[in-house]
């Protein structure tokens, strides 16, 4: 049999390689912590239901880093993404259901695109092994369509425009523990897919430029949408989308240049680790804060500053290192677009900073909820994540951060890291004294933005269609009755004696006339 055929269980290969290792560690850590957190904070009666979805999702989410061939990669990808629907709809409110429906739709489309891409790549490579796939597609006539499908799939996973509402929708209604896993780990599978599947340095420059431009646009626009949205969780979702936009910029770099690809890959890994941990810490932190009162609450709010600073990219945080790596990668490209992107990159930090300010403000405003369970275990788990955020930058592979850490201490980079934050704070202050109409702008974006409108349009179209087909059925029945009536009348007059026998005489004459022609 040809190697591209699935041989059932025999075709699934799992192995740990250099690319997979950091992701495996990240995923395993986040899914474990999030799972424990969810277990601790979910009422006993609901646990079974939540974990019916959480366990398969976690299983897929962790093993995806080990997947060594197209089919197992697809399996893990799907295993993680599909059950997550149950996590999103867990609370069962109409908003959550709608969010779940949109999530499932987009996930399904993403899965489909991924599968199509994998099939094409497998056919072209005549193999199922992941490294072979990415290499073979580069020289194939179907390269463009395969890469487009891959980018579509990845783009949906990481909330690229116009699906920027995807991530906020997935976090907003999800229970905190599960949301932490989704925020920290789920979207990073998209990053892993970039490393595993996108061919390096074979695409025309235009492709890279479009991808980079899309990434930058997402980074900025998601930040704007995020500052205008309503809940802390939604803000975090848009922040993720914004950050993932930056990862997409790196992916764009890797597509076109063989030289810059290693740098871009480094940036992608760095961003994944940094953002995964920080975002998970923020989601959990938000939940912990809502469980506390008094001084404990203040302390927790203060501790939240750590992941916030990391996301903004403050020196000596993981965010700083990740951004540094990204800049390096973009810098390796030459041309108008890369240079423009390079120039704009620091400005994205303003958006991040604004988002974080908004998040902080919303979290602080949240009223404490009375929970039965003691917050001791959640706090402990959260602390573990915080620790990871603080330490990660010191323990990850040296070649990525030596540079960054050295340069972090220079005044110029200090300044580079600080000015966007300052601008954001200044803007925030300015807004406090802005006219009420401007202030009211905050809160106008529901989590999900255009996706909600799209969903509403689909529902309306569906109703309209259903109504139309119903009314059609009624008229058809009437017409049938009329036809039957007139046919019966026609036969009645055809068999009346005089008419019928005259008809017969006419038939006689016809036959005679024909016969004697």
């Amino acid at each position: 049999m040809t190697p591209v055929l699935p041989a059932g269980i025999g075709s699934l290969t799992f192995s740990l390689d250099e690319t997979g290792t950091p992701f495996l560690i990240l995923f395993a850590f986040l899914w474990t912590i999030s799972g424990l957190y969810a277990f601790a904070t979910t009422p006993a009666g609901e646990r079974a239901r939540l974990f019916a979805y959480f366990v398969p999702s976690a299983l897929g989410g962790v093993t995806v880093a080990l997947a060594g061939d197209a089919i197992s990669f697809y399996l893990c990808f799907a295993l993680m993404a599909i059950p997550a629907w149950g996590l999103i709809t867990h609370v069962g409110t109409p908003e959550a259901r709608r969010a779940g429906a949109i999530y499932l739709t987009l996930t399904a489309i993403g899965e489909a695109a991924l599968l199509a891409a994998l099939v094409i790549m497998a056919v072209e490579a005549d193999s199922l092994a992941l490294p072979v796939l990415a290499e073979a597609i580069g020289t194939s006539p179907l390269r463009d369509i395969a890469v487009a499908l891959l980018l579509a799939s990845i783009g949906l996973k990481i909330g690229t425009l116009p699906a920027s509402g995807f991530l906020p929708l997935s976090y907003t209604y999800t229970p905190a523990g599960a949301a932490s896993a989704l925020a920290g780990a789920s979207a990073k599978v998209g990053a892993l897919a970039m490393l595993r599947l996108l061919p390096a340095g074979v695409m025309p420059e235009e492709w890279a430029y479009v991808v980079m431009a899309l990434g930058m646009a997402t980074a900025f626009l998601a930040a704007i949408l995020g500052t205008l949205t309503t809940t802390p969780r939604a803000v975090l979702g848009y922040s993720s989308a914004s950050q993932m936009g930056l990862i997409l910029v790196a992916a764009g770099v890797s597509l076109t240049s063989v030289e810059a690809a290693p740098l871009a890959y480094g940036a992608i890994v760095a961003f994944s680790l940094h953002h995964g941990l920080a975002k998970s810490a923020l989601v959990l932190g938000d939940d912990v804060v809502s469980r506390l009162t008094g001084s404990a609450r203040t302390a927790a709010l203060a501790a939240l500053a750590l992941p916030v600073l990391a996301l903004v990219g403050a020196p000596l945080t993981s965010g700083f290192v990740a951004k540094y790596a990204l800049k390096d990668a973009v810098h390796a490209l030459h041309g108008t677009v890369p240079e423009a992107v390079y120039a704009l990159l620091p400005w994205t930090a303003i958006g991040t900073a604004a988002l974080m300010l908004r998040f902080f403000a919303l979290t602080r405003e949240r009223t404490a909820e009375t929970r039965v369970s003691s917050p001791r275990i959640p706090i402990a788990l959260w602390s573990l994540v915080l620790a990871a955020v603080a330490l990660v930058v010191w323990i990850w592979p040296a070649q990525w951060n030596v540079h960054a850490i050295e340069s972090a201490l220079s005044p110029s980079s200090m300044w580079t890291a600080l000015w966007p934050g300052l601008i954001a704070i200044a803007g925030w202050m300015a807004l406090r004294y802005a006219p009420r109409s401007a202030q009211r702008l905050t809160g106008i974006v529901p989590p999900g933005d255009v996706l909600l409108g799209l969903a509403a349009a689909v529902t309306a179209a569906d109703r309209w269609l259903a109504g139309r087909s119903r009314s059609r059925g009624v008229t058809a029945r009437d017409e049938r009755a009329d036809i039957g009536h007139s046919l019966r009348a026609a036969e009645r007059s055809a068999v009346a004696w005089t008419a019928a026998s005259t008809l017969f005489v006419l038939l006689v004459l016809l036959l005679v006339a024909l016969g004697t022609r």
Binding site: W497, L507, L511, L514, T516
Partner: protein, 493 residues
């Protein structure tokens, strides 16, 4: 072998004798006479078929006189098929009638005459299938007509009398038209014997007019649209065994004469365009009859209109016959199979309809729900008959449809195939309109006690015959090859 050679004469003489004996035997013994007669006739018909299969067509001179003053009988494969069909349906109807016309039912007017009239009609039908002379056709047709009209009115209701009167006048109109045709034909040719006519017929206006009149008259007797006006009322209001015989056999008698005149007696293209007209009218009959059947609310009216439709198929052979020996063979075999399968199935349907009406005490289709529960064999019989009506495999109807469709396609005139297909679908529509009611679950066991094993199983037996006919198609094919039509067309050496 000698006895076999006598079978044509016996096929007329035996039922005639039976009719006479049943008349004098009295009401109680008449059924036994009829059953015995039916068994003998069936044996004779089979014997004749075997004889034809062995030695090909043969002539039989009644009383040894010979034509033109004597009466000659002609036995060929096609005639043998119709005779066997008549004998099978006749036997089953006779058995059914013993249950239907109860001897203890003293109130029923004319029931005592049924046996005599029926055997007399059988005699005339057998004679009609065997006669080789166009004037004797007239006599036989009228004898069939007189007994048929009388049988229709035997129940004595106003509706039956009215239908009988219409039937009678239609019959008279046809008879006179036919007789005029014979007169003109004789005036032109001086011949009445079909075999002689076949070899001597030349282009001549008077002869052509005569033949056209004869065909038209036979069309009326066969109830081809638009001359079907008398059929639904007559077949619908007659007692069910009578309806069965009328629908499955009597119309085939006049049709068989058309078949012989058109395809055997007249040389190709003798009445130009008439074959097409017959095909078109056949198509119209298929569509119109089926549509009307679909609109009927009473069961026997539905079955009667189904006959109007099914007759149409028989006429498709004429336009197809112009396309060479291969197509003719397919088409002729097709219509013969169709005549057989329709005869069996329609017999089954009318008998079944009669049983249903007895059980329910009325003939409204809409109120016949629950039949499947209380009379499963009966319903199954109706369903099987329906299958063959629709031409679905595996059934005789399917074989007929297949052969005719093949003939149409092989001739290049594919539109006849379209008509056949539409006819099958319409048949499905009206049959399932009936079946879907019978299959409905309704708590009606009211009249179950009126069920007699004969009235339940005999329709099923006929329907089974119609279905199993598909296995006998090779045999029918052989008999068709032994028909004068194909022999004279040079198909069979």
């Amino acid at each position: 072998m000698n006895v076999l050679a006598q079978s044509p004469g016996l096929l007329v003489a035996v039922p005639l004798a039976g009719a006479a004996i049943s008349f004098v035997a009295g009401r109680r013994r008449a059924p036994h006479v009829a059953i015995t007669t039916a068994l003998v006739v069936l044996t004779l018909a089979v014997a004749l078929a075997v004889h034809v299969l062995d030695g090909g067509p043969f002539r039989y001179q009644v009383g040894g006189w010979g034509a033109p003053l004597g009466i000659d009988l002609v036995a060929d494969g096609a005639a043998a098929l119709f005779l066997v069909l008549t004998a099978i349906v006749g036997l089953v109807v006779t058995l059914y009638a013993t249950a239907y016309f109860r001897t203890d039912d003293e109130t029923a007017y004319g029931h005592g005459l049924f046996w005599t009239l029926w055997l007399f009609m059988w005699t005339s039908l057998n004679a009609l299938f065997l006669t080789g002379d166009v004037f004797n056709v007239y006599v036989c047709l009228e004898l069939v007509g007189i007994s048929a009209v009388t049988l229709v009115t035997i129940g004595g209701g106003a509706e039956a009398l009215r239908a009988g009167a219409r039937y009678l006048f239609a019959s008279m109109l046809g008879a006179m038209t036919y007789l005029l045709g014979v007169a003109l034909l004789y005036a032109a040719t001086g011949q009445l014997d079909m075999d002689v006519l076949r070899t001597t017929l030349v282009a001549d206006t008077t002869a052509a007019t005569g033949l056209a009149l004869m065909i038209a008259a036979l069309v009326l007797k066969t109830a081809l649209v638009p001359a079907h006006f008398w059929l639904p009322a007559a077949h619908g209001s007659a007692p069910s065994p009578v309806s069965a015989v009328l629908s499955s056999l009597v119309v085939k008698g006049s049709y068989f004469v058309i078949l012989r005149l058109m395809l055997d007696v007249m040389p190709a293209g003798y009445l130009p365009g008439v074959d097409i007209v017959l095909g078109v009218l056949g198509s119209a009959a298929i569509v119109w009859g089926s549509v009307q059947a679909l609109l009927q609310t009473r069961i026997k009216q539905l079955v009667a209109y189904s006959t109007v439709a099914q007759i149409g198929y028989l006429f498709l052979v004429f336009p197809l016959a112009r396309h060479g020996a291969d197509v003719l063979t397919l088409a002729l075999t097709g219509v013969l199979v169709h005549a057989l399968s329709h005869g069996l199935a329609k017999g089954s349907l009318f008998l079944g309809a009669g049983s249903l009406m007895t059980r329910f005490g009325h003939d409204r289709i809409a109120d016949m729900a629950g039949a499947a529960r209380s009379a499963p064999a009966l319903t199954f019989g109706v369903a099987l008959a329906g299958v063959t009506m629709m031409g679905l495999p595996p059934s005789g109807g399917f074989g007929a449809k297949w052969l005719l469709v093949s003939a149409a396609l092989a001739s290049g005139e594919w539109w006849w195939a379209v008509v056949l297909v539409i006819g099958g679908l319409l048949a499905a529509a009206y049959m399932f309109r009936l079946l879907s009611v019978l299959l409905v679950d309704a708590p009606t066991e009211l009249h179950a006690s009126k069920g007699d094993i004969r009235t339940e199983w005999l329709p099923l037996a006929l329907a089974l015959g119609a279905v199993l006919l598909v296995l006998a198609i090779p045999l029918v094919s052989d008999l068709a090859a032994a028909s004068n039509v194909l022999i004279h067309a040079g198909v069979t050496p």
